[in-house]
Symmetry: C2
DNA sequence: TTATCATTGTTGCAATTGCAACATTTTAAA
DNA sequence: TTTAAAATGTTGCAATTGCAACAATGATAA
């Protein structure tokens, strides 16, 4: 059961979803959902995974969000760029869509499951902020090397291991760090040569500290 | 009245603050509050302003958060970096401090003002995410020029004017963009020479589109 | 299996940036 | 008001990075 429905039983869940006029949609792999990103909604990945990708006028691709199972996304949570954004499913993906405007309507205040839902949403939202902070943390480092090392350190702190298995491709990592892929590749090579890491493809082992 | 107490009357507010064991503290200008950033709290700037600043092992200063009146901050919302973080008041500042662990305790579910408070907090939290997204938007641009232009565009979209008055110093802007100050200064000069902007100090006028 | 496409790895070179050092201007404090 | 401190502006130079072009490897579908 999804964190969003923590302490809300199935019966209440159904009432809640009706109350919020929400719907569950399924998409096949590699579906592009442009409209979904633009409407004023909150979405939750119930099953599968997806990415939100921005392409600016220079054609630079940037991954705005990496959405796994349980991830939350939507207008309020994603970026409101002037550039083109699109959401692409990476697997067959089941998504819960909730109209954001309905969520804060105060007519619902009397339903205990509604109040619990808001609390759950707050909790999840705080996790989103933590993720954003991590990315900002990484992006504010000035050199590619420092960006990589900060990314590694955060990973290690979270997973408690020096053996990193990237959750996405190196190409995507370069996008996440907002650096040129080949320049990043070169920096990884230097880090290897200087004995800081071992790496092959998505597998990276930290040899320091 | 602060957005956080939207639809909560003064009488209820007092009950609420007691319920959450929260306190209102006042700090003089230029006070450094190290502990505040580290404890598991949510703070709201009721009056005044402050900055959360990170200094990494190279001595690079980065502004993590620019806190104005009504801004929210705290462990969950700010970054959990390995580097040193400190919060510095820019004016005489009044801060509401709430123990975060208390906020989601479910014993309080029966109080309507408590539920309203959670809703208000959710709403504010979403604004925080929007700000984070804006910064990420800017930081993912690859050149200083593109970072500046993206920053200007966001400002224009928000304020609806081509006349920009920076909310902080140019030095701080460089930190916000995570670029070298003098390099940014040079880029601003080029933008002026090429007729894209006029600028003097914190005043910048967009001449394009 | 084979063909096709995506990802990864490599490198020279030009463009951008950070750094350092300093002059000038603005702001804040005594 | 005077003085000190902070912010802004400028520039040469070296380091870092992006870009382009290509080879090698790995994954996916016919």
């Amino acid at each position: 059961m999804h964190k969003l429905f923590n302490k809300i039983n199935v019966n209440q869940q159904n009432k809640l979803l009706k109350l919020l006029e929400s719907s569950i949609l399924s998409f096949p792999k590699n579906t592009i959902m442009l409209s979904t990103v633009k409407e004023n909604i909150i979405g939750i990945i119930l099953e599968g995974s997806a990415q939100i990708i921005r392409t600016d006028y220079n054609g630079n691709r940037t991954i705005i969000e990496e959405l796994e199972e349980e991830s939350i996304f939507g207008t309020v949570i994603s970026s409101l760029s002037s550039d083109e954004c699109e959401m692409i499913t990476k697997d067959e993906t089941k998504v819960l869509i909730i109209d954001y405007d309905r969520i804060l309507e105060s007519e619902n205040n009397n339903y205990s499951y509604y109040n619990q839902f808001i609390k759950n949403l707050l909790s999840i939202t705080n996790n989103v902020i933590e993720q954003k902070n991590e990315r900002i943390e990484v992006l504010t480092k000035k050199t590619i090397r420092d960006k990589l090392l900060e990314y590694f350190n955060i990973y290690r702190k979270k997973h408690g291991t020096k053996n990193i298995y990237l959750p996405f491709s190196l190409t995507d990592l370069a996008d996440y760090l907002a650096v040129d892929r080949s320049a990043m590749s070169r920096e990884l090579k230097y880090l290897k040569e200087e004995g800081f890491i071992e790496s092959k493809g998505r597998k990276i082992t930290l040899l320091y500290r």
